[in-house]
Amino acid sequence: MTNERPITSRLFTTSVIEGRVELDEKYDKAYNSVISLTRGLSEEESHHALNKALDDRKVHDELCLGLLVSILADSSIASRHYHDLTLVSRDSLKVVTETLIHQIIGERFSRLSESTRRQLLWLVRELVKTGINNVEGVVWCLLRQIAGGDVSAKNVWLAESLVDILRENRPWLDKFPVIVASVTYTYLRILEDHSGPQFAGLRQKEVTFVVGLLRERFQDCLMIGRDLVRLLQNIAKIQEIEAFWRDLIHNPTSLCPGFTGILQLLQTRTSRRFFVVRLTPEMEKKIVFLCTDVKFGMQKRYQEWFQRQYLNTPESQTLRCDLIRFIIGCIHPSNEVLCSDIIPRWAVIGWLLSSCTSPVATANSKLALFYDWLLYNTETDNIMNIEPGILVMYHSMRPHPVLTTSLLDFICRIIPNFHPPLADKIRAGVHNSLRQILEKRVVQSLEPLFDNRHMDVELRKLIRETFPEFCANSVMGEVKHDDFVAPVSSQSVTTMDLLAETGLDFGASAVNSDSEVNNSNHIGGMEEAMFSEDEEEPPAQKPPPPPVAKIKVEENPVTPPSPVAEMEDVKPKVNDVNSVEEKVDLSKHLEYLENDMKTIILDLQNEKDTKQR
């Protein structure tokens, strides 16, 4: 029954379900032309034969490719063929570097066989040593392949191999400021994953290397901007990092003349390229697909697959920050997408926050969400970087109130605590963000968040103290709707809300008509995302479809048991109505909700997450 056919590939792993890739044919042909041309010849004779053939441009490209394939496939002949390559290439190895960047590493890295990967790193070392044109692009591609949150042998080997190459070739590295910055960003981030005792040796290597870059090439590292501070804080316990941090705070000019201090860094928005460098192309492709092609309500399976592949271990929780920064900084949906029924960014981020299994990673993820708020500057910052923060809070109010309250708590406390000497500036930055949010009508009003009489008293007080100018001091603090009290009164609406409560898949909120909240339908504006008033919107706010129809779309049955079980593993403190009783009948909960919702929420809010720093 199984098909017998040659499915082997020189460079890639194959299996019954994954045969040769399309490129294999091209590579084999190129390889064969090299071999047939040089078989049995001495080195000198080979060069002669190759050189003669290379007069034809097409032949040149194919032979260079063939030599590349041979180097990657066969370690015994790699040295010699590399030597041939450098001698006969007429385009400064352009074919080689481009093939590496776009074909070999680009999106097929995970399919390279182990021996090919080793040869690849061997080759990159040679290319760097030789100072070949454009090898910095190859290095950048490889940096991306060091997956965050992945402490498998394969990934750790890549991180170590690359840091060795870079350490041994500092003069080369120093010629490329962007690569210096990208390498610094990568290794500062990866150090967080290499905290275990089994990584002590590697960690020391990485620390010495990256601190060397920070101290010696600080003017290059400066270009990273504010996320540099975030990364340093995450590994501040490392001795050498702590020493660097002290210099950064107390002795900035020692690092770089003209560097005025940490404020300068925090005021610089981090370029997208750094968020990109911390996601593998595969991760990027999937997250972008999730945010641009998956309809709101249909995301559950994609999220499960993504979670299973990349977020399934305790060590992998650090990846959530990278994903959140990427979504915030790099996915700025077109108006077309914003007005469609595609899952909004805040829902994806909400999922990443609420499915996190590590308290530290959760706290860091909250910071990642609000990071651009802290020193928001209307001139240099982008509203699209602060929009998700407010919308997660808003849209989680009903289905996931504990998330909202924990985020509110976080944003209040981060202001004095992030960096106490700069508390005033940060206060101003956050206030600026809120002003912008209101000005651009990301939400119509902050009242439901800031003046909610159903919220925990202490939290409300904290909010009032932190944001007095955004809180109503008048009796008009009366909230019109969208409280924490679940508006559920009839069975049909309740079923949908419960799904959201227990499943916490941010699928329900699109269905609730929050007329105060500008949902995912942003209309208008050309360059900047502009947010219209509710009244101007077409009735694209779909009324909640009858639950039967909606449930049909979700392939799981409505009953809560499986999501509840999931949530219990993940987050014991989640405001999950069902967390006390496990697998229960839906109808029992209807009554429960109607009578006791307020009490439950208040109780659970008193267990609120404290910020862990």
Partner: protein
């Protein structure tokens, strides 16, 4: 594993185009499909010591269960996007089921990035 029912003249010409899951009817064969794997069932072991799995797959038009023998069933993961040729459908235990014919091939081509619908479920009895 032979297909039940004879191919009609219409269906015989199917092998050049891709068929949507929603279009599948008993007796169709020589099918080309592209789908994404949603769920992989637990294996059953046959008398000849083969592992058979029922795998739920979907495209934009709907979903169906495919019966996979041995390695392909072992290797596939939810989220895998596959191309199938020489598939055929047949009714088994009252449910429309997709199979890979002898000489047919199931290949993973990608992951994740495909829209799908779980309605209608063509394998519902």
């Amino acid at each position: 594993m032979t297909s039940s029912g004879e191919a009609t003249g219409l269906e015989a010409s199917m092998d050049v185009q891709f068929t949507l899951i929603r279009e599948l009817k008993p007796g169709m064969k020589n099918l080309r499909l592209v789908f994404i794997v949603l769920e992989i069932g637990r294996p059953n072991v046959t008398k000849e010591n083969h592992e058979v799995r029922s795998v739920k797959v979907a495209d934009r038009s709907g979903c169906i269960n495919i019966s996979l023998w041995d390695e392909p069933g072992q290797l596939l993961q939810p989220g895998d996007i596959c191309s199938l040729n020489k598939g055929y459908v047949s009714v088994w235990k009252n449910c429309l089921t997709l199979y890979v014919a002898k000489g047919g091939e199931l290949q993973k081509v990608s992951e994740f990035c495909m829209q799908f619908s779980e309605q209608p479920n063509m394998s519902e009895p």
